[in-house]
Symmetry: D3
């Protein structure tokens, strides 16, 4: 795929023009007020792994609905560890325990959290999404589920789940709550930015080729991937263009970024047609904390893959001291 968004030079100058919806902070304060519905359960899972111990996690998310995760630590860990909370890319899930080896092998506690409803597109998930009444009809996928109302939208529930997951990680006896980082690729990167904006006291965040940023631009420019669901919905529901983007603006990384303070490592890819690099730079330039960008010049949405893993592990080590 050749270049189809801005050049590296233009990205440095680009600033998002996305407008923040009125009442953004109040919306999220309301959503997250009150305690979680209860504690998370962690059950040890027998696996073929010898160096790592895996726990099957059930944590109460939005309205107490169960969200599944894996919690992985080096075998025999007894004292609190720094922790990495991770969210999957769109339509992926927590997979099997053997899919979650990296961070625990590097000496972290690792919480890998399902995104509700997903996990049937490329890696298995085990968590369902229950849409509330008045969610309206939807385009296939998850982007337009509840798009008529921020209070009903899918990502209101997902972000609530994610906050609850970070809280569950912090509360675990094997986790040092002062050394928790959040990361993820694509949708996982978008959720990382939401955590950076909503959860105080994170030690570091690392959003890779994040989705859910500068979403109207994304829906107008992305040639592949889930931004196209929004475009597909608006192709049919022609009168709802402004309303749909008003709803989505409550979940947009460009607004969460302005509220963030944790040190951040971003990555973007110049040939990315799923999360065009300009949408990532839209969030990056807004990011209020200390920040750094890895730009992959000949990659698409796969981004840095294991190169970025190595960079990210070094970045996390700087801030979390595993």
């Amino acid at each position: 795929m050749p270049l189809s968004d801005l050049t590296a030079e233009e990205l440095l100058a680009y600033r998002s023009t996305a407008e923040e919806p009125a009442g953004f902070d109040a919306f999220w304060a309301g959503v997250l007020s009150g305690p979680p519905a209860g504690p998370a359960r962690f059950e040890p899972v027998p696996t073929s792994l010898k160096t790592l111990q895996v726990y099957d996690v059930s944590l109460p998310g939005h309205e107490g609905q169960t969200v599944k995760a894996w919690f992985v630590v080096p075998a025999g860990s007894t004292s609190p560890l720094p922790c990495v909370v991770e969210f999957p890319g769109y339509n992926g899930g927590r997979g099997l325990p053997e899919d979650c080896l990296l961070y625990a092998s590097a000496g972290y506690a690792h919480l890998f959290v399902d995104v509700r409803g997903q996990g049937s597109g490329w890696r298995r998930g085990d968590t369902e999404d229950l849409a509330p009444a008045d969610s309206g009809p939807q385009h296939p996928g998850f982007m337009t589920r509840g798009i008529q109302d921020p209070a009903k939208h899918f990502y209101r529930r997902v972000i609530t789940d994610a906050v609850r997951a970070v809280e569950a990680a912090k509360a675990h006896p094997l986790v040092d709550p002062a050394r928790v980082a959040v990361t993820g690729i694509s949708q996982g990167g978008g959720l990382t930015l939401a955590m950076a904006g909503l959860v105080p006291g994170l030690a570091a965040v690392a959003p890779d080729v994040p989705f859910l940023c500068d979403m109207r631009r994304g829906a107008e420019r992305a040639a592949t991937g889930p931004y196209q669901e929004v475009a597909g919905y608006l192709k049919v529901h022609r009168e709802r263009v402004d309303g749909a983007f008003h709803t989505l603006s409550h979940f947009d990384g460009v607004h969460f970024a302005k509220r963030a303070s944790a040190p951040a490592l971003f990555s973007a890819a110049l040939m990315d047609t799923t999360c065009p690099p300009s949408t990532v730079y839209g969030a990056y330039h807004n990011y209020a904390g200390e920040k750094r960008m890895e730009l992959y010049r000949f990659n698409g949405h796969e981004g840095g893959e294991s190169f970025q893993n190595a960079v990210r592990l070094r970045f996390l080590a700087e801030h979390l001291h595993p």
Copy 2:
């Protein structure tokens, strides 16, 4: 698209080997026991149309949830008319009133019914789907929503809605309940077969290039369209192959067909890669009532389009005398 399924000659000989699940009749008897949750509401809609009168319909479907429809009659109708109940193709909805001109212009009362949740793919729908707890994660779309359990599956709700819609049509004072036909294209054709198997006393049915027939074969052979959602789900949830097809077998037209008695006009298309003609013939050969097939030899899933409209109008006129 060249031929990729059976030839016309082979289709005459092909018989589906799909197995009926134990308790099929009991399952449906349970689902449909009891009365509808209440009467449907019909509100006149102002439109630009002069020869037709359109009503906005809200009818109580599965668990009383609201299903939307249009009811259209020749302007000034006062005495009971024969009625055509129609369901849309996958991801379509009832659209706007101006999308529903054919049957009323031909002298019928016409009830065009939304499929819940859909209507954001190609023609607008206005009805939402609320999945119950224990629906599980899903592949984008509607085919695998609740695929773990026949009682939770999307089409259990849709078919219930459809039965309630036929009942609402029969109960309307402008409809002669002895002269009600059901029709639809693709998913609408699959629902037509379900009605033929579940609703006694229909005057005629006309499933066109029906979807939801011989579904395992469909999932293995379709190169386009929603059968691929099932294949996509099973690509990830590898251990659920038999379970998924067990669930789907409760909604399969090849089984409904065996229970049908209304005169039927089918159509199929030899180059159809969305609903391969063998899957349609699977239902056709099982169909227990009087039946006729129009086979379009150089068409794909578009099938007969207005040619088939004309054939179908003649068929309906034979049986419903508008």
Copy 3:
């Protein structure tokens, strides 16, 4: 499909730089001088329709060659009605009578006219095109038939047919000649603009996502659709670039628009790769009469579909009072 032409803001500022060929008015005066070759014939057609009466029309077009159309009126009409003349999109035809329900159901007389030669791509046509001597070889399709000479070009004949069709509509006893509108989608929109420029006294025109506008830009930018035939021809006949566009400039909506006076409702679609929105705005900004634009922001060449039908019916009602 993401955005690939100008943004909504840029479209407001864009002006076509297409040059009008010398003698444009004289060319058309010559083509249309003299009376039609004779009266049109209208033969009632038996159909399954009850609320509408359909006539099979044979009208003498270019050099008296027969052009087919359907004429549809509310059943039982006896006094003159406002009339909508409509032309199909590229490679479509008049189809079957049941394809022509909208305008007559809304109280208009409706003349749906074939485009010669076409009607074998997506909806059946019944009219042939006879190319004159010295038409030259051609690329498959109709765009380059006779492209060596404006006098031999396909659209010289088609536009002549269209003018004769409007005249035939006006002359029909069930039509009020002061209340005639012209409309069409894509190619039908291009012909609508030609009628707006050539036929005096139209009550309204409604070109939707019109083709045949700013044609050199179209041939350079369209990624799909019939502008590519011109590009395909010039890929082979490399020395005829200027000549080909000189011929086509005689049929370009950007020039007809300057001569128009009827009130106009345009539509365009931001993601349209067949008739890029800039080519539509090229004609729109040139349009000399009262005008209005519906811009569909997440649609491709399908444009507004039934949404635009509803908008158009309201627009026509304002001007034609059905």
Copy 4:
């Protein structure tokens, strides 16, 4: 492209089941009765070539309409030469003189003949096609021009032109009429088979990956190329399936092959999706003269290219002794 038609072994056993239309011989006797409309004109063309002399040919074809060709001979030729008459592939034309070097460089007189109307798809042609009245509407391209009636069909005119071209070659003083061969690739191969069936006394014929053979099978199986025009037409004109193939059967190589007697070199390609090898073997097995097949096992419609040129030159040398 993997294998999508029969295997090499199956091809040896396959026999076409295409039915010959009644009156096939009478049809062609009628078409070709009477002398050509006049002599061909040969005008020397100045080129950059030193070893070859090129003539611009205008020959009277169907109804005396002008067909263009190049006639090329070794520079300085004075006595009669063996001659190769060649026809182009679909949508190609005679091109420029520099495109016609092979046969004259090998010591033959070479007549390269345009196919009327074509020559705007990949190599320039200079000959137009004038369709007669009652040709009907058509799908883009040439396959369905006049498909309602064998007497009006495009290939009735093309084959007439081709016969006239062979006659013109034979009549030229630099040609030995007893040593004339006919060849061509794809459409050129189909016309070669027509010549083999219609023109007595040919010294050899060499149809390569011939088109226009076993045409119903072609229209049902070809995934690329012009057989798809027939399928496209019948997708719209659903009621004309049998009629269309009846018309085409008058031009089908499987029937011409039965009437042939000249020694023949065929070629076919196992991965050919434009002219599936089974359609070629349909003609090959019917061929009544001495015959040979080159089968290219990993080629698509490009077939043998210059490998086959070399094989063909050796074959021609055996029979024409240049």
Copy 5:
């Protein structure tokens, strides 16, 4: 992708008809005679990993040329471990150390070996291939490098490297040479079969969706992937069909399988268009040792992914007792 090869039932009955080249055993005896060119070097690599220790390996392969690998063991291992030797899929390489976590986390020594020349398509490799004189020209990729002669072919060198790698693993002090297994996906699976046929005393082998099996069938049927390189070469070098497959037959898993004795776990995928399941079953049915097949019914070439990892870990544990 729908089914395009044999059904599950047909696969059980299918047997490869590929012919073994004369002298197969002598060929390999010659290639592998003599000792390796020297010992492998293992250098500890600093990484971010805490639970695992990684070594950078340089081992002498074909003609002593350096082949790179990673050797990974649980941190602090001191006594001999069972070992898994793994080879990458086509165009992949050993990647970064963080890409090699699975087997060492499960308690094995893990040797992940580059394939020479590759590692620039999807995961980085660090090993070059030096083709010998008389390798001839080639199609892009590696499949046809040296295809004129088994002694010059790319896979003669790769398989030699692979044997040397297994020997190097066995010779390492942290490896128990009686408990060595070989595995790999796709090309890695093909090399696994080669090891099964060439290296005595393996404890287990696990080829997943193996490439390099029944290669002529693969080249004729695969719609995606590297078998197409062979088809692409033969499209040009038309006269070398038999010669090319004679060369490749020296590296074909269907022949290695007949010589194998280690217990084997195979996997195949019904929708695999890169390594069609019939080619895998060709090797499976020939396999002379104890064997088991996992068939994934709705997967393409991705096969079982982490599901198969879990199955394979259980299989290895049965045989290697980590």
Copy 6:
């Protein structure tokens, strides 16, 4: 394909910003110092051609490795002729003698030279490439073979071969060394520019849609063709972006162009996605000799084909007087 690079107007203004590597002239002086490894051999080849005589050429190229070519002259030539040296496009080779008719038929001696390693993609080649040690791993194809070091890179060898081929042509008794031109399409055009910059005394050069120009821009913008190999390599070897382009800059036509003096005829195509026209204009504007550009406005990478042949033959005749 619509326009995807600069417009014709923008191309006139565009200038390449590619930086010349330090020591460019010294690099090439070193490479080409010393005499060829020996004389070329010319062996007459029997063909079916009568007007031309063909010789099979073996010439010593880089490090004396054999490079194959065809040498073609008008039959019976005895005195020195002007000569055209030609190089093939990417993945093509010299083909068969019958593929090389144009220049000799026009009165030139014609040397058509293989590119080492290639000739298995579309026209057969007979020359192999032997990569030296330390070439490193590579992406499929030839662009990244040896990309770690200018001294090891594939095009260092190819350009050396090409210089040796021009020298061999000049040394042939049937060639007038003062009247030698160089030409080629795509890769052949890139090599033509290299010859223009490296070989003194050429009478003319004619690069058509040249590849190997402004290569970083090419790798960022080309949507098709071999520039994508560089992008594909850098997608994996993310840390080698600058190093890879440093290596390639030694073979870039934009730098050779500055050193050229022979009269030049360029061609470019506005819709070319393999060699975007801006990359061609980058070289053109840098070209230091007398120059002319043919711009094909509706062509892709096929460019001018036989139109350009005719233009080129006239240009060559002006300068070489055949």
